[in-house]
């Protein structure tokens, strides 16, 4: 059994139990217990919505700091493609990469190469799965599927994301050069908590093996300081097609597909997946899905407004003349294949009979509740409360509005 990690956590002293996160969590993973928010690990998908809505800064997600990169013989940084449109339209990606290098890394890997590789792989792979093919680089969406939509498994393209492909390529390269595993430090510069979690999980994967994730917001001020006075050492150009991967809809453009849906925002994704599951979305070839508004440019750790960042990204793309034009090798397919999605079981009990009993009981309780979803009991809805009660996670008398004669 794979262990479930999370990067979103609560600073208890800051939480006043206001119910904002309770009511806004898209997967009902939060409860208020004794006046403080509690995140249920098996439900949380690390989308970071609670961090966005908390007025008191009580929900946080902590990545690595630059100090954590000390102690490796070789330090490689993989910047997310979302980094490049964060500095206005005057600053070239090459300048940004140079600036990153000056923060103490031996190599700044060009993730747009991995994006171009992935695009080539996808062109072939999406024809092999059930239509509509679903491909996502968003770990929150993967977790959502594992938990609530495991039956979509046959639609999912099981290939690594550009981020993982980058790490695999870097590890392979430096291992070949004679470095030992533990001498190579690979760090992802992330736009979101979702990837902090994912990278913790990948620490134990020997093929990919990340050593940490640093939030873009963490290095942003340092980058601003060095951006203009970096050396005039030239740095190679990034790929314009790779940069397409930063916003919702860009992937499809990179693959050259026009019969696609690009859906962003976790609630919209849930709605669409519900429709796919019912067989309602028939004539679509491809779906790209993101937890954040407008895709990864809406990531929590980014500075620029996502809509403006998208405009800037499109400018950089329009002015760019370079693409890797990757040639597809058959070995890519096996090398960058991903294991099956984990199917999280939502069952109430291990044996069928007990599950039936609990559900009957839950339905009885639902009928006793007012159905107003007031949240005062500490659960996000009357239904969720009834579920909590039968699971022994809440007390029936936590609800002050039980209907008369409910018993």
């Amino acid at each position: 059994m794979k262990e479930i990690f999370h990067s979103v956590s609560l600073i208890e002293e800051r939480c006043i139990g206001c119910t904002k996160c309770l009511m806004n969590c898209p997967v009902e993973a939060i409860r208020i217990k004794n006046g403080k928010a509690v995140i249920y690990n098996e439900k949380c998908i690390d989308c970071g919505e609670c961090i966005r809505v908390c007025p008191y800064g009580a929900h946080v997600s902590k990545g690595n700091s630059l100090n954590d990169t000390e102690g490796y013989k070789i330090k490689v940084l993989i910047p997310s493609v979302t980094l490049y449109p964060q500095f206005g339209q005057e600053i070239n990606p090459e300048e940004i990469n140079k600036a990153l290098l000056s923060l103490g890394f031996d190599e700044v890997f060009d993730i747009t190469f991995a994006c171009d590789v992935k695009a080539e792989i996808l062109k072939k792979e999406i024809t092999k799965v059930e239509k509509p093919a679903i491909s996502t680089l968003c770990p929150s969406i993967i977790r959502l599927i594992e938990k609530d939509f495991p039956s979509l498994n046959d639609h999912i393209v099981k290939m690594l994301t550009p981020i993982e492909i980058s790490a695999a390529l870097i590890r392979e390269k430096y291992c070949k050069m004679g470095y030992k595993e533990n001498e190579i430090g690979i760090f992802f510069l992330t736009p979101c908590p979702s990837w902090i979690t994912k990278i913790k999980e990948l620490k134990y994967n020997e093929k990919i093996g990340f050593d940490g994730a640093i939030a873009i917001s963490e290095v942003y001020p340092k980058l601003l300081k060095v951006l203009n006075k970096t050396s005039n050492k030239t740095y190679r150009k990034i790929s314009k097609t790779g940069l397409l991967w930063s916003f919702s809809g860009g992937q499809s453009q990179a693959i050259g597909i026009d019969n696609f849906l690009a859906v962003d925002g976790i609630k919209n994704v849930i709605k669409l997946f519900n429709d796919v599951e019912k067989g309602k979305i028939k004539d679509v070839d491809y779906i790209e899905a993101y937890a954040c508004t407008r895709g990864c440019l809406g990531g929590l750790f980014l500075i620029e407004n996502p809509f403006n960042a998208e405009r800037i990204a499109k400018k950089i793309i329009a002015n760019g003349e370079f693409s890797y034009n990757v040639e597809l090798h058959d070995e890519f397919q096996s090398k960058f294949a991903r294991e099956d999605i984990l199917k999280v079981n939502l069952k109430f009990a291990d044996d069928f009979e007990s599950a039936v009993k609990m559900i009957k009981n839950m339905n009885k309780i639902i009928n006793m509740l007012p159905g107003t979803d007031c949240g005062l009991c500490g659960s996000p809805s009357c239904r969720a409360f009834a579920e909590d009660v039968v699971k022994g996670l809440a007390n029936l008398n936590d609800c002050k509005f039980i209907k008369n004669g409910g018993e």
Binding site: E277, G279, K282, N345, K347
Partner: protein, 140 residues
């Protein structure tokens, strides 16, 4: 075999907005029971088609899911107008769906055939002017 649990949802004629909610609720129930994902998928597709047929073709009705130890039974029953020729209705591509429903992507005439394909047992019965009843069984 004894019925362990049942849930029932009203389905209204012409309600394209809420149409599909019964299927979603039944899916959730099956997940809570620990039914395997591929089986849930089959039930979900069949149940949704039956539900939408009530919305599109009938005066309204209900969807009921009965849980047994080894199977689930889905019953979709409405209050008419009934199906005149069931053999014809079961043909792939046959549809009398109105234009507005076709524009919304319904009315491909594949609903009933797909329901039959998705289930282990499929029964349909109808009386003109009275009802149409579809009963589908999937074994766990």
């Amino acid at each position: 075999m004894q019925e362990l649990l049942s849930v029932k949802y009203d389905v209204e004629s012409g309600d394209f907005i809420r149409g599909g909610e019964a299927s979603s609720s039944i899916k959730k129930l099956l997940q809570q029971l620990g039914i395997k994902a591929d089986i849930i998928k089959r039930i979900c597709v069949a149940c949704y088609e039956a539900e939408m047929n009530i919305v599109i073709h009938s005066y309204g009705g209900y969807i009921e899911a009965k849980i047994f130890n080894n199977k689930v039974e889905i019953i979709a029953k409405d209050r008419g107008p009934g199906i005149e020729n069931i053999d014809l209705a079961m043909k792939e591509g046959y549809s009398t769906a109105p234009e507005y429903a076709r524009e919304m992507g319904f009315g491909g005439g594949m609903g009933l055939p797909n329901m039959k394909k998705s289930c282990d047992e499929f029964y349909i019965d109808s009386k003109m002017g009275e009802y149409t009843e579809v009963r589908m069984v999937v074994y766990f």
